[in-house]
């Protein structure tokens, strides 16, 4: 970085980013009534007097949602409140049947946690709003010809996770959100699907002169429903704020809507018209005081979490950091890997990891390997064949193609397709033919031009259709030419 100057036009800024994440819990029923959770079902088929806010109805907290929220609080190393309070957050909107959302305010379920290198400010429980669908070109309520409400989503249990402003780049924000997503997925408490809205992320963004500790005016970015949009949205906002400050202006506190189509940010509401939510304790609910049994149950339900798993894979198996993280963040890959490793203790962990994270992922994409025709035992066997030099690397890839398409054991596929390494006698004859056929190259190799070896080896590999090991072939050629 260049020298920091004092003129606003050239000053270097650094972003200060905090995230607010809403996670729909994967419970059987809604937060405060007995309606089943659903996604994509016929509108208004999962409703009852309670979640429609009929007069006289009362909320009854969902024990499973509380269990999941406690698991999240523990997984994020939070302090759990011995007694947390539900509040009413009041505002009028058609997607809010009671005219208030039951949420938590000054005494949340848990606070002061950490995930990776980011501090977690708080984690609390609340209910989701219903879904508004606006007819008309704008797709938003302003300018819509009509709006309809689907109450299926209304009352879905939500956990809100708020971080401290510990992130300093869009990429870091994206990376941390991936870790959080992997963690929640591993806990099994949510589908964490950003497309479907079961994981939603808002970002609080401000910038400050690089190296200072002051906090600038922050804006809130909404609607970034993918990792890519999150990073793009934050980057766009950082640029916008830099331009304002460089131009001598002041950043205004406001809520911004990110348009994924255009990448543009538009103002939703500014501070002057911000809501007064008139929070007060929800008199229809008693304080949430987890019993020791509830805490024990939540603790017992915690699996090994991605951050810990990545660290273990790196430390105990010597995997490269990126490989270890990939296996840990995509826990289905990690599970497949560890199961393959267990199937054949002799396999080199790093080689096997590379086969899983590179070759297998290339063939399966996002499909969970458990649901593919490739079994962990079969992949372990294939890797063992390669290590034992019974099959060449490139032939092994062909075997994996066949396994990914139709299953089967590697040894059977190798035999069936004649993909085993060429035998010594067969290979010697081929080597002799190649030397005869390439006198120029032979001359150059003898003269010490190493590159010329490629032509000879290439010819041999072509003839064996890859069933030979490149290193072994080279060794044989040199031996033949008396260069051994």
């Amino acid at each position: 970085m260049t020298t920091v100057t004092t003129t606003p036009t050239e000053r270097a800024y650094e972003p200060v980013i905090g995230l607010e994440i809403h996670v729909q819990l994967r419970t059987q029923t809604k937060m405060f009534c007995g309606c089943a959770l659903s996604f994509g079902d016929e509108p208004n088929t999962h409703t009852c007097p309670v979640c429609l806010g009929h007069p006289g109805t009362l909320p009854v907290p969902n024990a499973e949602a509380i269990h999941f929220a406690l698991m999240i609080g523990l997984a994020l190393e939070c302090e759990l409140a011995p007694r947390s309070i539900f509040h009413r957050k009041n505002y009028f909107y058609p997607d809010l049947p009671k005219g208030y959302q039951i949420s938590q305010f000054d005494v949340p379920l848990s606070r002061s946690g950490r995930l990776g290198d980011v501090r977690v400010h708080r984690v609390h429980l609340e209910e989701d709003a219903a879904k508004l669908v606006h007819a008309g070109a704008s797709g938003r309520i302003h300018g819509a010809e009509a709006s309809v409400v689907d109450f299926n989503r209304g009352g879905t249990p939500l956990v809100e996770i708020v971080t401290e402003p510990d992130l300093s780049s869009p990429e870091q924000a994206g990376e941390w959100l991936r870790l959080l997503r992997a963690t929640l997925k591993r806990l099994g408490v949510s589908d964490v699907n950003m497309d479907e809205g079961s994981l939603r992320c808002d970002a609080n963004v401000s910038i400050r002169p690089a190296g200072t500790a002051t906090l600038g005016t922050k804006t809130e970015l909404k609607n970034m429903n993918s990792f890519r949009f999150l990073e793009r949205g934050i980057a766009a906002e950082v640029t916008r704020q830099e331009q304002i400050l460089r131009g001598g202006g002041e950043v205004e506190q406001e809520t911004l809507h990110f348009d994924p189509q255009t990448g543009a940010l538009s103002s939703l509401r500014s501070k002057e018209e911000s809501h007064d939510y008139r929070y007060f304790p929800e008199p229809d609910l008693v304080p949430l005081a987890p019993t020791q049994a509830m805490l024990d149950r939540a603790r017992a339900a915690l699996p090994e979490l991605p951050a810990a798993r990545a660290e273990r894979l790196e430390r105990e198996l010597g995997l490269p950091t990126d490989t270890a993280r990939l296996l840990a963040f995509r826990s289905e890959l990690g599970d497949f890997y560890e199961s393959a490793l267990g199937a054949d203790g002799a396999t080199d962990p790093a080689t096997l990891a590379s086969w899983v994270t590179v070759e297998l992922v290339a063939r399966l994409g996002d499909v969970d390997p458990v649901e593919s025709p490739v079994s962990p035992e079969a992949l372990a066997e294939l890797v063992r064949l390669v290590s034992a030099r019974s099959v060449s690397g490139s032939a092994a890839k062909e075997v994996l193609d066949a396994m990914a398409a139709g299953g089967g054991r590697p040894e059977a596929i190798v035999a069936e397709r004649g993909l085993g390494l060429a035998g010594a006698g067969e290979l010697e004859a081929i080597v002799d033919r190649a030397i005869e056929a390439n006198p120029d190259a032979v001359e150059k190799v003898r003269a010490g031009t190493g590159k010329a070896m490629g032509a000879i080896v290439g010819a041999i590999m072509r003839e064996t259709k890859g069933r030979a090991d490149g290193g072994e072939v080279q060794r044989m050629v040199r031996e033949r030419l008396g260069l051994g």
């Binding site: 007069p55 006289g56 009362l58 009854v60 907290p61 009671k98 709006s147 409400v149 229809d284 609910l285």
Partner: protein
Amino acid sequence: MSELLDLSTAQAAQSVRAGDLSPAELLSAYREQAEADELGAFLWLPEEPLGVMGTAADAPLAGVPLAVKDIFCVEGVPTTAASRILEGYRPPYTATAVERLAAAGAPMLGKTNMDEFAMGSSNENSAYEPVRNPWSPDRVPGGSSGGSAAAVAGGLAPWSIGTDTGGSIRQPASLCGLVGLKPTYGAVSRYGMIAFASSLDQCGPITRDVTDAALLLRHLVAGGRDPCDSTSVDFPQEIELPSSEDLGGLRVGVVPELSDAATIDAGVKTVFDATLERIEELGGGVEQISLPHSEHGLSAYYVLAPAEASANLSRYDGVRFGLRSGDGDLLSLYERTRADGFGDEVKRRIMLGTYALSSGYYEAYYGRAQRVRTKIAEDFRAAFERVDLVVTPTSPSVAFRLGERTADPMAMYMSDYCTVPMSLAGLPAISIPAGLSEGLPVGFQITGPAFSENRLLAAAHALEQAIGFDSSPARGKAGAPAR
């Protein structure tokens, strides 16, 4: 026929059980009275009498029909809380209290009039019509459960249920010469009871005598904690039918802050003092105690109850049920629906409550009122270390004239002066008729610790026997109880 209507419900139930009277006969006798209602007590009667539960004769409540305040949701039955905003609304479900009493053999006779959303002390805030006091038709029956009280006092119903937030069962019972019981907060499920102020609302009986009140309460709490109401609890004992005839050994506390307040009318005070003498005659000891914060109860109440109400009434937005006004635009939908649908008193309280919760005012109003509430609860706790029961007048005055206080909300709010502290503390309280002043009934309020309903009912029963109040307005006026 009139003999049948004179039967107490306990007597009627006994006749039904003995086979001398059929539940259908009983129902049709009351239905005839209710149809001829000139008091404005009923807002709705079924077109056809509702079926009397199949085997009502052996059901515990023997088919004795029940008048239900129109604040209770009943599936498919118009339920308005006496508000225009719920005109035409038919709930898709039934309130737990109504369901439990029906299951025990008390079918619903009809829905009774009330102050809109239970906000009022005279029943003049009904969006439909005011209710008249059977003791004097140009006077109010009290509120907000005015219709339930008038129906029972006027002989249109054998018994009824109402709701009490700051006195809405006890004050109309007092003004109509009836027994009204507000149970301990949490004793009776609030599920299906349209909310006014959730942390205060309780359902309870309004009846001709203490035994009937005990009988209804028994079946309201008998099912135990309602899983649909997180704030409901298991009642620790069964409710006993009271038989006590004396108050031997009972320590009764009198609260000068409430009973000697300037707001208590002289006639009411006279009856109150006479009742204290009766307590002593019955073997009870009367001593003075102090509830130092109780005089601030009304102020705290008129912050807390409107605050909760402002949120509870947000759901009436024209989107899903009830009245819908406006020109199709969202803001106009909200504004017109609520402007057209709510009456003045409801609007006043929504504004009061919204203000009290607003950012910058929350601590000064809601926060401070909550602290007063805590102080009042502590006062009672301290008092109950010295005495078994606390007694006060129920209402500062007898029934006032229709229109007398409508122009002065503060005067109207004073009606709750003696009943609000118990509501804030969540305590059970019963009002029994103790005599007449100006020819109109005067109520006497007895309060005990949480879940002391059996103690309250026993004491109320002993006093009731000694006082011998006649709950029939016609006879009661003719001969005031002898002293």
